[in-house]
Structure formats: C-alpha cells, structure tokens
Subunit: 162 residues, 2 copies
DNA sequence: ATATCTCGGATAATAAATATCCGGACTTAC
DNA sequence: GTAAGTCCGGATATTTATTATCCGAGATAT
C-alpha cells in the first residue's frame, strides 16, 4: 500500500499556488523547477487536478495553472482524491461466497464484516484529510518554514512572473 | 493506493482459524481451497503471518497453520501490518528542501506540515483497524453469516481434520 | 493577423511492485 | 530409520506505476 508520489507533489503545488497573485499563473515547467521534480510526470498530475476543478489552466503566453477556487474551500482530501482516485484502498472480493460454505447471493443481506471494518477505517482516514484545507497548510508553512526560505520563495515567484 | 489481495485473504484465514480446535492445524492448501484463492500465493502470505507470530506453523504430517495466540488478542491491524508492512502509505520526500527556497536541514526543526497531516490520517486509520479484534470478527460472522453457510463450514472443517 | 506559448492527450520506454511458481529443508508419524 | 507431508525462501512472471517524448488545439500578446 503506497500513495503515488503525485500526491505529495500535488499538495505542495496547490499550496504554492495559494501564494500566487489572483490573475497570474505558473507553468507546469516552473512548478516542476520549483519543487525539483520531473516535469513530464508532474504535468500529468496537474491535468488531473485541473479536471477535478481544483486548478484552472490558462493557455497561451503567460498561461499556466492557478487555483480554481479559494484555498479555504479546498481540502487535502480533495487533492488526494483528484490524484489517487476515490476508490477505497481495500476492495472486498466476497471470498465468503466462494468455497464450501458458499450460498446464493440473496442469503447475504449485510456486507462482509471484514469489509465493514476496512471501510470504516477508510472513512476516518478520509475524514481526517478532509478536515484540513489548503488555507490551513499555508498558515502552517508561514509559521514553520525557515524565514529565509519564505523570502527566497517570494523572490523566485517574482522572477517567475516577470 | 491499493491494499494487497493478501490482506483480505489473511483476515479471512485468521478468522477461520479461530474456529479450529486447539491442537490441530490446517495446511495452506486446505486454506486456499476453503477460500477459493491461489494456493501458492496464499502460502506466501501465510509465511508473513507466521513471522509476525499471529499464526504458528506445524510441519510434517498433520501439520499446517493455527493461531499463535487467542483471537481476542489479535487485531485486524496486526494482520494488515503483517502482510502490508508498517510503513505509512505516504512517504514525505522533503521536497520543501529542494528548489529555490531550499535551506540547510538544521533550519527545519519541525516535520513538513503536509507530512504531519498525512501522518495524522494514517494514525487514525491504524487506530480504527486496531480497535477490532479477530474475536470481534468471529462474533460478527456468527451473527451475520447465512446459517447454512456456518453448518457447511463446520462440516468441511470436520472433514479436513479427519 | 500571426507567431509564440501553453495545455491536453496519446504513445512508448523504463522501473518498481505485485503475484506466481518451484525445489530444498525440516518435522512428524509410523 | 524412513518415507511422506509440510513449510520456507528464493527465482520467475505479470501487472502496475513512473518517466520521457511528441504533436495538435487553443489562446494571447504583439
């Protein structure tokens, strides 16, 4: 069980874009450069975030990506699900209905007990991620990041938007 | 993000073995037959459960697997971690320390904010799985399973232990 | 208007994780 | 003691994820 690398990149990208001036955008190449990740693969995940209407793409010169809605309305779960999908990690294959004890489907009114346990864990996991917004992350970054890093980041962005 | 098939098999196997008489064992072939899953691959996961001291293996004729400890002392999390590993699904690669804003490691006293969020979700997920024991599952199965399925299962086990 | 820039999607190559199989080592029952 | 039965761990195959490349469609600044 492992989350795609894209999840980490995606959350970082969305967090960075929260610092972007309203009417500007950053290209996928710039975003890859800033985070030090492969541009081609990041581009793929950015498309997913765009389809999920978390990011908005702007074509042509001075184009790129920007947030499609305010940071306080985007949760970490939104980003994770845009990239990783909404399917639960555990998929019950109903093995209780195979083998010697098997009975016709209608005799199983309730979902498998094991499935229930796994689903419930999945639900609290998602709830936990859904409780944090991108706005929360930017506050945390503002609080925790090395001051010099913030300054350098702001400088980089000024340059990138030139 | 997807859990291995072995997780589902493993939980089912452990649950079934909770019904086994104290001093007997079931071979991996029998367990595979009962659940209708590939024998060779199930065997591999059984080894993992054995290493984790959830199951106990008995070699030679009349050998096989049985529980290493009482069902009430084994949680679903134990089984999941035995098969899937204990590493969190999200692994922070510290991309905040790459790119233009990068600073020397010592300037980052706290873990990355994104990592904290993901870890926290991972923690509640594991806590949720850790709150359910195999004993809970056998009760649930006894309550929910089609009565005829329980009878047939008991009959199968009698035969398998012949 | 047009040349330039950007995303979007398709394709292909590579790496990694997962699933499957097989032969050897060990234990037990007789 | 011995033969049958079982697990164990490594080797193999298959699938999935990651990375790279390319070209077309659309948008924009000049």
């Amino acid at each position: 069980m492992k989350l795609s690398d894209g999840v980490e990149w995606g959350v970082h990208v969305v967090t960075l874009l929260a610092y972007l001036p309203e009417d500007r955008a950053l290209t996928s190449a710039r975003l890859a450069e800033y985070h030090g990740v492969p541009a081609a693969y990041l581009a793929k995940h950015l498309q997913a975030l765009s389809r999920a209407e978390i990011l908005e793409s702007v074509q042509g010169p001075r184009g790129g990506y920007r947030l499609a809605r305010p940071p306080a309305t985007v949760t970490v779960l939104d980003v994770v699900e845009a990239i990783e999908g909404t399917e639960p990690a555990f998929r019950c294959t109903e093995i209780r209905r195979r083998g010697p004890g098997a009975r016709p489907a209608r005799e199983y009114p309730l979902p498998c007990a094991i499935d229930r346990v796994m689903r419930s864990a999945d639900t609290v996991w998602r709830a936990s991620l859904g409780a944090v917004t991108i706005a929360d992350l930017t506050s945390a970054v503002g609080r925790d990041a090395p001051p010099k890093s913030l300054v350098a980041g702001a400088e980089w962005m000024r340059e990138a938007l030139r």
